[in-house]
C-alpha cells in the first residue's frame, strides 16, 4: 500500500510530462509539415560547400 503513494504520483507525473511535451510540440508548429520533416533530413546543409561534390539533384538522378 505504501509504495502506491510514491508510484502513482510518479506514474502520473511522467505521463503528464509526456502530455505537456506533446502539447508544446503542437503549439510550436512541429506538426505543421510532417512530410517536409521526413524529407529535410536528407538535405546536408554544409556538406555541399565543404566538399566539391556534384550539385544536388544530379546525384539523386
Amino acid at each position: 500500500m505504501n509504495n502506491l503513494f510514491f508510484l502513482i504520483p510518479i506514474a502520473l507525473f511522467l505521463g503528464g510530462i509526456g502530455l505537456a511535451g506533446f502539447l508544446w510540440a503542437l503549439g510550436s508548429g512541429q506538426y505543421e509539415d510532417l512530410d517536409g520533416a521526413a524529407e529535410r533530413i536528407l538535405i546536408d546543409e554544409e556538406a555541399s560547400a565543404a566538399r566539391p561534390s556534384l550539385p544536388r539533384g544530379q546525384e539523386a538522378e
Binding site: G16, L19, L23, L26, E32, D35, G36, E39, I43, A60
Partner: protein, 761 residues
C-alpha cells in the same frame, strides 16, 4: 534539378499554358505586413515533392536580396517568404527559372486551422486520462478493494474531470447547438451518456461503492475524438489542396487616372467609368467595353464557347474572360459588384437556398436511435423501482443501459468510412470537401455534364489535320511558334516536328487581334490569321475557316478548330450508363459543337445555348421530377448550376467560384474521375449501412443484459472497445477493396504523379 522539377519538362514543350506572372503590385496586395518593415508572401508551388526541391527552392529564394526567410511546407506544397518592404523580390520568376510553377496564395490574416488544433489537443488530453484510468481500473478488476479501491476511484475521478470538461466540450457544444434548433444528432446521446456515467461514478466513489464507469466513459470519449479528428484532418487536407489551385479572378487592375498616370488598384476601387488597361495574357477584371486596341478574348470559362471571340473598339467584354493577343483599354461599365461575376454569385446563393437541406445518414439514425435508447433506460429505471423498490439500484441499472448503448459504434463508424473513402479518392486525384457529399453522390440517378472544359479538355485542336498538306502545316507552325494564341498552340501540336522544304521565314511579328506575319527569303509576305486580315481582297462567307495561311494575300490553307473531348470521356460515360445513370450535356456553346461532343462521348441528351439561369432551371426541373443529379462543370456559367445540383463536381481547371461551390474537385485530365468517385461513394454507403446494422445487432444483445442488471464496469469497457474496433476494422476494408494497378503503385510514384497532376492545373 533534373530529377524533381516537374514543371521543367513542360517548359520545354511549346504548349506551355499561357501564364502571366502577377505584377509586383499584385504581390504586395496578396501579402501580409509583419511589422518592422517586413512582408510575408505565401506562394502555392504544386510541383514540390522531395528534399532536393525543398533545398533548391529555399537556397534560391534566400539568395535574393531583401529576402530574409524562405520556408517550404511540403505537406501543403506552399512556400512562405518573408522580405523587406520596399522593392518586391522576383519570387515567382525565380521559382519559374528553377522549373516550378508558382502562384500567389492569399493570406487571410491569422487564419490557421483552430478547429484541428483544438481536436488534437482534446485527443491528447483524453488519451492521457484514458490510459491512466484504464491502468487503475485493471487493478480494481483484479481485486483491489477497500481503501485501495476508493483511492483508485478518486484518482480516476480526478483524471476524468479535465478530460470530460475539456475534451468532452466538443460534443456538448455540438449537442447543444442541435437541441437548440429542435433537432437531435449523434452528439446528444453521447453527451447525455458521458454526463450521467460520470455523475453516477462520482456518487459511487463518494459512497464507497464498488462500480465506477470512469474508464468506460473516458475511453469512449477518446475513441470518438480520434474518429472525429481523422475526419477533420482529411477534409482540411482536401480543402487546402483546393485553395492551392490558381486564382483565376484578378485581385486588382491597372487603371488610367484622369492625368494619364497608371496605377494598380484593388478591384473594389474600380468604379463604372474607370479606364482599365488589360495586357495580353491577363484576365479582364470588370465588365466593360473596349475603347482602345483590338484583341481576341477567350470566353471558355464564362460562356462555354470554345473558340476565342475577336474584340475591338466598341465591343463589350465580360469579367473573368482572358485577353489573348493584344493590349486593350477598357471602360468599366459596371462596378465589380454589378459585374457578371457578382451576378453569378447571387444566382448561386438563390440556387443554394432552393436546395433542400441534406441530413447525414448518421444523424437520421441518431434521430431514431436516441429516443429509443432514452426510453429504454427510463423504462429500466421505472421497472426496477417497481420490482426492487430500491431507487439507487434502479438508477444504477438505468445508467448502465445508457452507457452500454452509448452510440460509440455509430459515432465512429460513419466518420471512419468517410475518412477511408476520402483517402481512396485522394489517391485518385479527387478531393472531397465534405462527408455529406459522399452520401449524396451515392444517391444520384442523373449526371449532367458541361461541355467546354468538362466533357472536353478546354484546349482547341486542329480538325481534319490529316487532310492538311504537311509542308503547309510546317510553314504555319513556323509562324505559330511565336504566338501563344490557342489557335497557334493547336497548330503547333498538330504540326510534324521535323520541317523539311518549308521556306525560311524571318522578321515574324504578331499583329494583335489579327494574327502572325512574316517575310520569306524571296520577299513574299506570309500571314497566318483571321481570314478577313490574311485575305484582304476576298469576299468572306460564314462558312470560312477559323484561321488561314496566306502568301501575299492568296490562301494556301485553311484551318478549323474544335475542342477535343477529354481522354476516356467515352469510357467514363459508358461506365456511368452501365451503372444505370442518365448522362446529359448542358452547354452555353452553339448547337453544332455541342452535338458533335455529345455524339463522341455517347451522352443520352444534350442542350446547347444554355444561359446560367437556364442550367439552374434544368437542374431544379430534374429535382422537381424527383431525380437526383450530379452536376459536373467548370465555368463561371456553371457555378449556379453546381450550387443547385444535388451534388457537384468540378475539374481543377475550373473557375474559382465553381471550384469553391463544387463538392468534389478532380485533379487529373481524365473524366474517369466521375465514375470512380461514384463507385467509391456507393461502396462507402454499403459499408456505412453494414456498420449501422452491426451497431444495431450489438444493441440487441447488449441491451437485455444491461436491463437485467448484469453489466459490470468490466463488461461495459470490453463491449464498448470491441464494438468500436469492429466498426473501424470494417471501415478499413474500403482502403483495401479492389485496388487498381495505378493507385496501388509505390508511394513515391503515386505522390509524384499527384504532384504532376497538380502541376498541370
Amino acid at each position: 534539378m533534373s530529377c524533381c522539377a516537374p514543371g521543367a519538362e513542360a517548359a520545354l514543350e511549346f504548349c506551355l499554358p499561357l501564364q502571366a506572372s502577377p505584377s509586383d503590385e499584385e504581390i504586395v496586395l496578396a501579402s501580409r505586413t509583419l511589422g518592422e518593415g517586413f512582408m510575408q508572401t505565401d506562394l502555392a508551388v504544386p510541383g514540390i515533392h522531395c528534399a532536393a526541391c525543398i533545398h533548391a527552392i529555399e537556397k534560391a529564394l534566400l539568395k535574393l536580396p531583401d529576402v530574409r526567410r524562405a520556408r517550404v511546407n511540403l505537406s501543403t506544397r506552399r512556400v512562405s517568404v518573408t522580405w523587406r518592404e520596399g522593392r518586391v523580390p522576383p519570387l515567382i520568376q525565380t521559382l519559374n527559372r528553377l522549373g516550378y510553377e508558382a502562384h500567389l496564395f492569399e493570406i487571410v490574416a491569422g487564419r490557421k486551422d483552430e478547429a484541428l488544433g483544438r481536436l488534437i489537443r482534446a485527443v491528447a488530453v483524453a488519451g492521457f486520462a484514458a490510459g491512466n484510468i484504464m491502468l487503475l481500473s485493471v487493478s480494481v478488476w483484479a481485486g483491489a478493494d477497500g481503501a485501495t479501491r476508493d483511492l483508485f476511484h478518486w484518482i480516476s475521478a480526478l483524471l476524468a474531470v479535465p478530460a470530460l470538461a475539456y475534451s468532452g466540450a466538443i460534443f456538448y457544444r455540438s449537442a447543444w447547438r442541435a437541441l437548440r434548433h429542435g433537432r437531435t444528432n449523434m452528439d446528444v446521446p453521447i453527451s447525455i451518456g458521458l454526463a450521467l456515467a460520470f455523475g453516477l461514478s462520482l456518487y459511487e466513489t463518494a459512497t464507497h461503492g464498488a462500480e465506477a464507469y470512469f474508464d468506460a466513459s473516458v475511453s469512449l470519449l477518446f475513441f470518438l475524438l480520434v474518429g472525429r479528428t481523422l475526419d477533420h484532418a482529411m477534409r482540411e487536407k482536401a480543402r487546402s489542396a483546393v485553395s492551392n489551385l490558381r486564382n483565376l479572378s484578378p485581385r486588382g487592375a491597372t487603371v488610367i487616372a484622369a492625368d494619364g498616370s497608371r496605377e494598380f488598384r484593388p478591384l473594389s476601387e474600380v468604379m463604372p467609368g474607370t479606364r482599365v488597361i488589360v495586357s495580353a495574357g491577363e484576365r479582364i477584371p470588370v465588365d466593360g467595353s473596349v475603347v482602345e486596341g483590338s484583341s481576341e478574348v477567350d470566353c471558355a470559362l464564362v460562356t462555354g464557347e470554345s473558340t476565342p471571340r475577336p474584340s475591338t473598339v466598341g465591343d463589350g467584354v465580360q469579367a473573368g474572360t482572358l485577353n489573348l493577343t493584344g493590349p486593350l483599354v477598357i471602360l468599366a461599365t459596371a462596378s465589380p459588384d454589378g459585374s457578371f461575376l457578382a451576378e453569378t454569385a447571387r444566382l448561386m446563393e438563390r440556387a443554394e437556398e432552393g436546395r433542400p437541406r441534406y441530413r447525414l445518414i448518421a444523424d437520421r439514425a441518431a434521430a431514431l436511435y436516441a429516443p429509443l435508447v432514452h426510453s429504454a433506460a427510463f423504462l429500466t429505471f421505472v421497472g426496477w423501482l417497481w420490482i426492487a423498490g430500491d431507487w439507487h439500484y434502479a438508477l444504477q441499472t438505468a445508467i448502465a443501459v445508457l452507457i452500454i448503448t452509448c452510440p460509440c459504434a455509430l459515432g465512429l463508424a460513419v466518420p471512419m468510412v468517410q475518412v477511408m473513402a476520402a483517402r481512396r479518392l485522394f489517391e485518385k486525384g479527387i478531393l472531397m470537401k465534405d462527408g455529406s457529399a459522399l452520401e449524396r453522390l451515392a444517391e444520384i440517378d442523373t449526371v449532367v455534364l458541361d461541355k467546354t472544359g468538362t466533357a472536353t479538355t478546354g484546349e482547341l485542336h486542329l480538325l481534319h489535320a490529316e487532310h492538311v498538306d504537311p509542308a503547309l502545316l510546317a510553314t504555319a507552325s513556323l509562324l505559330a511558334a511565336y504566338s501563344s494564341h490557342p489557335y497557334s498552340r493547336a497548330i503547333l501540336r498538330a504540326a510534324p516536328r521535323v520541317d523539311s522544304g518549308s521556306p525560311g521565314i524571318a522578321s515574324i511579328k504578331e499583329v494583335s487581334g489579327c494574327g502572325m506575319e512574316g517575310t520569306a527569303g524571296d520577299g513574299a509576305v506570309y500571314r497566318l490569321g483571321r481570314p478577313s486580315w490574311a485575305l484582304p481582297d476576298e469576299r468572306h462567307g460564314s462558312s470560312e475557316p477559323h484561321l488561314v495561311l496566306a502568301r501575299n494575300g492568296r490562301m494556301l490553307a485553311g484551318f478549323r478548330f474544335d475542342d477535343a473531348a477529354r481522354p476516356d470521356a467515352r469510357e467514363a460515360v459508358e461506365r456511368l450508363k452501365a451503372a444505370g445513370l442518365a448522362v446529359e450535356i448542358l452547354s452555353g456553346d452553339h448547337p453544332e459543337p455541342v452535338r458533335r461532343i455529345a455524339d463522341t462521348i455517347g451522352a443520352t441528351r444534350w442542350r446547347a445555348g444554355q444561359l446560367p439561369a437556364d442550367k439552374v432551371r434544368r437542374l431544379s426541373g430534374l429535382a422537381n421530377a424527383g431525380r437526383k443529379a450530379l452536376m459536373v462543370g467548370d465555368g463561371l456559367n456553371d457555378a449556379p448550376a453546381l450550387a443547385a445540383a444535388h451534388v457537384s463536381m468540378a475539374p481543377a481547371t475550373a473557375a474559382d467560384i465553381g471550384r469553391n461551390a463544387a463538392d468534389f474537385v478532380f485533379m487529373r485530365e481524365s473524366l474517369l474521375a466521375v465514375p470512380q468517385a461514384f463507385e467509391t461513394a456507393v461502396r462507402a454507403r454499403t459499408l456505412v449501412w453494414e456498420n449501422l446494422a452491426f451497431a444495431a445487432s450489438y444493441n440487441v444483445v447488449a441491451v437485455p443484459l444491461a436491463v437485467m442488471g448484469h453489466v459490470t464496469p468490466l463488461l461495459a469497457a470490453i463491449a464498448m472497445s470491441l464494438s468500436s474496433l469492429a466498426v473501424v476494422a470494417n471501415a478499413l476494408r474500403l482502403g483495401h477493396a479492389r485496388q487498381n494497378p495505378i493507385s496501388a503503385g509505390v508511394g513515391r510514384a503515386r505522390r509524384s504523379g499527384f504532384g504532376k497532376a497538380l502541376g498541370q492545373t
